[in-house]
């Protein structure tokens, strides 16, 4: 236990060192801007694709094209650079831009390649389609709620992948396996695995199973917050998004 009776040090929190890519998207250096753009695309392409498929009712190929074109256009026209953190969350801004972009495209009814010969992003559209089939298209949710939910799914998906890599890097494979069995597969299993069952399966004491799960969750939390730190432009936005994403009423 770090401190039972003090002295307390309120500032002694886990480090959140990643730079905001939303801010970096406005950097003077074009290479920094490009890296920021890639990071934003990696986090947002799935919710954008799913909104285009389910809310704009585009065919698969058209939605794939428009997703690529949206990001290419954003890089060419400096869409991310124009974001003003004082006016809205980045997530809200992005969705509004997407709406405008999709409406213009529909009006023009054309599919011209944009962005000055921009190389298309390598995106797993097949995986996104599979998710649409498995999780539905957010029936009963408005576009804002659906976009938020899919963004949270994408965020946690990326953080889980980060966690897997962290476990590989640090030799904590058992830790990740337990996390995978209990926290990733467990909620959908007909019978949720028990701590005792996992302990027997891995030849560990039950206390070690719970310790591994605590460590994986703590790391996941840190990774989610790191990603959020990247995707927000201010401390206020970060805290507000963190509370929303972690299911806590911002009050």
């Amino acid at each position: 236990m770090p401190s039972e009776t003090g002295p307390w040090s309120p500032g002694d929190r886990f480090p959140l060192t990643r730079r905001s890519v939303v801010i970096a998207a406005r950097d003077a250096d074009p290479e920094v801007r490009r890296q920021a753009w890639e990071a934003l695309a990696a986090s947002y392409w799935k919710p954008i694709y799913k909104v285009l498929r389910s809310r704009w009712r585009l065919e698969r190929e058209a939605a794939e094209d428009l997703t690529q074109e949206f990001f290419a256009s954003a890089l060419a026209k400096g869409t991310f650079e124009r974001y003003d953190p004082a006016k809205a969350r980045f997530r809200t801004y992005l969705r509004t831009c997407l709406d405008g972009f999709a409406a213009n495209e529909r009006k023009a009814a054309r599919r011209l390649k944009r962005g000055g010969g921009q190389e298309p992003l390598s995106l797993d559209f097949e995986g996104a389609e599979e998710e649409l089939r498995r999780h539905g298209a957010g029936e009963g949710l408005d576009v804002e709620e659906y976009f938020h939910r899919e963004w949270v799914r994408s965020l946690f998906g990326l953080a889980v992948e980060d966690l897997r890599q962290w476990a590989e890097r640090t030799g904590k494979r058992v830790c990740f396996q337990l996390f995978e069995s209990y926290d990733l597969e467990g909620p959908d299993a007909p019978e949720r695995p028990s701590y005792a069952g996992l302990a027997a399966e891995h030849g560990l004491p039950v206390t070690q199973v719970t310790n591994h799960l605590s460590a994986a969750r703590r790391e996941l939390r840190r990774l989610v917050l790191e990603r959020l730190r990247e995707l927000t432009a201010s401390e206020e936005e970060f805290r507000s998004e963190a509370r929303l994403v972690l299911g806590v009423d911002p009050g």
Binding site: P10, G11, E130, R134, H135, L184, R239, A242, V245, D249
Partner: protein, 314 residues
Amino acid sequence: MNGLSDAALRHLQEVADLPDLSGTPYEIVEAIGRGGMGTVYRALDRKLDREIALKVVQAPGGSGEDVERLLREARVLARLEHPGIVPVHDAGLLPDGRAYYAMKRVRGRRLDEYAATVSLPERLRAFERICEAVAFAHAHGIIHRDLKPENVMVGPFGEVLVMDWGVAKVTGLPPLSPGEDGRRSEGTAHGTILGTPGYMAPEQERGEVERIDERTDVWALGALLAFLLAGAAVPKPLEAIRRRAMAAKPEARYPKVEELAADLARYLAGLPVGAYREGLLERAGRFARRHRMPILLVLAYLIMRFLLILWFGR
């Protein structure tokens, strides 16, 4: 991986929000309440094999202000050993950087839920006990500043616990910790508004921190009394007590919670209250109510006597 299912996503959001209790003797059972500053969990103290309540700062990577406020609350509670104030067992920082404190697990209902199910005299008795707890805190230099029905719990035997001391102001005593000067111990700067609308005295609503004293809590107690009287036919002396407690100017209120409680006790005992000047008829009525039995006996005696005189005078 092929995307997280809805159930897995919900589960991850939940477990990622759970405080990391590794290295502590505590184990979370469930979340039982959420406020602006922290989440309260029902938890098990494995070392002592008992249920406790854990209050943990809510915001992930929370601001230093939230952390400091929670720990201040723990220190305030540690100073106040009273049956009407929840005892704190332990406090500190968790491995994930969140501040927490462990306290007695309170069983009971919030005052607003309790008030809806009991008679007016029972509500007034609960109010007296709230006054006792607040008066005790005042005697230790602590002003609650956020008294409201949601911050009072009533146990199964009518015992009362005043909760949520997170915005309390500490006055006239040594600072809560060696590094804490007088200004910081107040916890707020001029212009900062802490409290709940409807339960904030006018000076508190205006953010006049330096004018906040015991009478600020007296006003909030008046508002609590008004809440407890809602829907009942309120006798004039009781209404006068409420009005004096909620006077706009602090100097027109009861200067001490003890005086408010004493006036209420006088009302409950059928005695004249300081906040209300009664007329002759009202005084006679109150006298008759208070001494109903002896008056009935004397009346019975006089009637008997009168009947006997009539009988023998024939």
